[in-house]
């Protein structure tokens, strides 16, 4: 079966993309399999400067999920441009650069630098991170702020811009529409949900950062609901993410309205999961009588 998906800037040979922050820059996984097998790779969020992130512990386990508070540790956009992207150029897969910052200007700064790279095919704005200028709230939590950073990013970018939405909002549709109107070429949804765990011995948070982002199968029903709602309200493509562990989950996201998907924490549980999903996907589509990816996209509301 043809698994090829064409999205703004992205010519994916299959709809499977490891999610940002769950695959580093691919080096560790390249020791396990050929990265050219992947539809694309969403690399770790890039910020203008090197960032060391939060104190440890940075992760905690939860029922059917995990919490993380890595704090955007990354070597900074310059090192990524110099070392990581040229290394990634050897693989026949589409690189999506995830961009983050503490202010709108930082997003622009990162994008302006990455524009020079031939390797990066599209941007993905991580608007879930707390924003310093706006009192620490995420840019993704109000339509106005989300639209503003999208507009600025679009003005700066020489490649398509996808916006990765935060699920920690009352009305995801409102934010998706604002972002579309501001010129986004696509959406990635969802980022992690804010959660927390306490240590039974001390009574204190397990994560040094107190709260963290919940990911994994636990959040899949929320992700599916949001993709379903947004897909009916916007005309730009959606990359679905949240709790995918197997090809059946990919099909569920397609039905909900996603055109491709990202796989996050499952890469930690089974480092080969992305290739396994790519291998299984045609069989699963066949099992459920689906003849093409296109046919499945949005079936839930069509």
């Amino acid at each position: 079966m043809d698994l090829h998906v064409k999205l703004p800037g992205l010519n994916l040979k299959n709809p499977i993309i490891p999610a940002s922050g769950c695959f580093g820059f691919g080096r560790e996984f390249a020791e396990l399999y050929d990265l050219s097998l992947l539809g694309g790779i969403a690399i770790k969020s890039a910020t203008p400067q090197k960032r060391f992130g939060n104190p440890t512990p940075r992760v905690a386990e939860t029922p059917s999920g995990m919490l993380n508070a890595i704090g955007l540790q990354n070597p900074g956009v310059d090192v990524i441009l110099e070392k990581e992207l040229p290394w990634l150029a050897q693989f026949d897969t589409e690189i999506i650069a995830n961009v983050a910052g503490a202010s709108e200007e930082e997003y622009v700064e990162v994008i302006e630098k990455l524009n020079a790279s031939q390797v990066v095919k599209a941007y993905e704005l991580n608007i879930s991170c707390p924003n310093v200028k706006h009192g620490g709230i995420g840019l993704g939590t109000t339509p106005e702020l989300a639209a503003k950073v999208t507009k600025m990013a679009k003005a700066a970018a020489n490649k398509p811009v996808y916006v990765k939405l935060s699920p920690n909002v009352t009305n995801i549709v409102e934010i998706a529409k604002a972002v579309e109107e501001a010129g986004a070429d696509g959406l990635v949804m969802i980022n992690t949900m804010m959660g927390m765990r306490l240590d039974l011995h001390t009574g204190k948070p397990i994560l040094a950062n107190v709260t963290g982002g919940l990911s994994g199968p636990a959040i899949k029903p929320v992700a599916i609901r949001m993709v379903y709602q947004v897909a009916q309200a916007v005309n730009i493509p959606i990359i679905g993410v949240g709790g995918i562990t197997r090809a059946e989950d990919v099909l569920e996201f397609l039905y909900a309205g996603a055109s491709a998907v990202e796989v996050g924490m499952q890469n930690f549980i089974d480092p080969y999961c992305c290739v396994k999903i790519i291998e299984e996907l045609p069989k699963v589509l066949e099992t459920y009588g689906v003849n093409s990816l296109q046919e499945a996209v949005g079936r839930s509301f069509k």
Binding site: G21, C22, F23, G24, R27, E28, F29, E31, L32, K44, K50, F52, G53, T56, P57, R58, V59, A60, E61, T62, S64, G65, M66, N68, I70, Q73, I206, G216, M265, N267, F268, I269, D270, P271, Y272
Partner: protein
């Protein structure tokens, strides 16, 4: 580094809350002392990192303490069943062939990785001093096993119910062990004390992990000297030269 369904050959209690599991797995041929494996336990999401305690021809041995739900489930596993292991992972204890004697210091579940190290030094016919610290007599394990290798073994218990009363440092003093090239693994306060007393050798660390292969940045530790440098416990570690990382 590979994923493998190992076969559990045995899984027995060897001390209070402490179990030894033998796993038959092909990956054993790639293992080095101090490395770890990441174990998937049914019903739990994240893999559990456990040190390799002994490397054998057809498999390896782990020794683990039941501290939570995952290790409790592990303790209930039966022989002949399969177990999903990923490994070997991380750095190993370098073997210094030019040294004639080494001092291995282990505390609690920090003891297991030192066993394979002792084995390898004994194959080279070196003097191996082993100092083991436990909370109490019931928690002690591997004293005999180290002795059987021909090591000089000293045990300390915090409550004095066996051996020297106190910490491993107390035991080293009590037995006037002078060897200053150390390999250690154990709880943070123990490592702190060792770092204050010794300059040469290696230390092994723990950290909450997610990927175990260096991709997620969950397990980092700062470099002690270079302000801007971080190390991944799972990739550059768990073994580091003494004094290398902030902890």
């Amino acid at each position: 580094m590979q994923e493998e369904k190992g076969i559990i050959q045995s899984n027995e209690k060897i001390a209070k809350d402490t179990y030894r599991m033998k796993i038959a797995a092909g990956m054993a041929k790639d293992m080095k002392p101090g490395q770890f494996v990441n174990i998937k336990i049914d019903g739990y999401m994240l893999r559990r990192p456990i040190s390799i305690s002994s490397i054998e021809a057809d498999g390896f041995v782990i020794v683990y303490k039941v501290v939570g739900d995952g290790t409790l489930a592990l303790a209930k596993k039966h022989a002949h069943h399969t177990i999903d292991v990923f490994g070997p992972l991380g750095s190993s204890y370098p073997i210094h062939e030019n040294r004639n004697e080494v001092l291995l210091i282990g505390g609690g579940v920090g003891v297991p990785p030192l066993y394979e190290l002792a084995k390898q030094y004994r194959v080279l016919r070196k003097e191996v001093h082993v100092v083991l610290g436990f909370n109490d007599k019931d928690s002690i394990f591997y004293e005999q096993e180290f002795k059987a290798l021909g090591c000089h073994v000293v045990v300390a218990t915090m409550d004095g119910s066996y051996g020297v009363k106190g910490t491993v440092m107390d035991a080293i003093q009590a037995h006037a062990i002078t060897c200053d090239f150390t390999y250690s693994c154990g709880p943070r306060p123990m490592l702190k004390a060792i770092e204050a007393a010794y300059q040469k050798g290696y230390m092994s660390f723990e950290s909450r992990m997610a990927c175990g292969i260096g991709a997620c940045m969950a397990c980092v530790a700062k470099d002690k000297k270079e302000a801007d440098l971080y190390h991944r416990i799972c990739k550059e570690g768990p073994v580091f030269p003494i004094g290398k990382v902030e902890f």
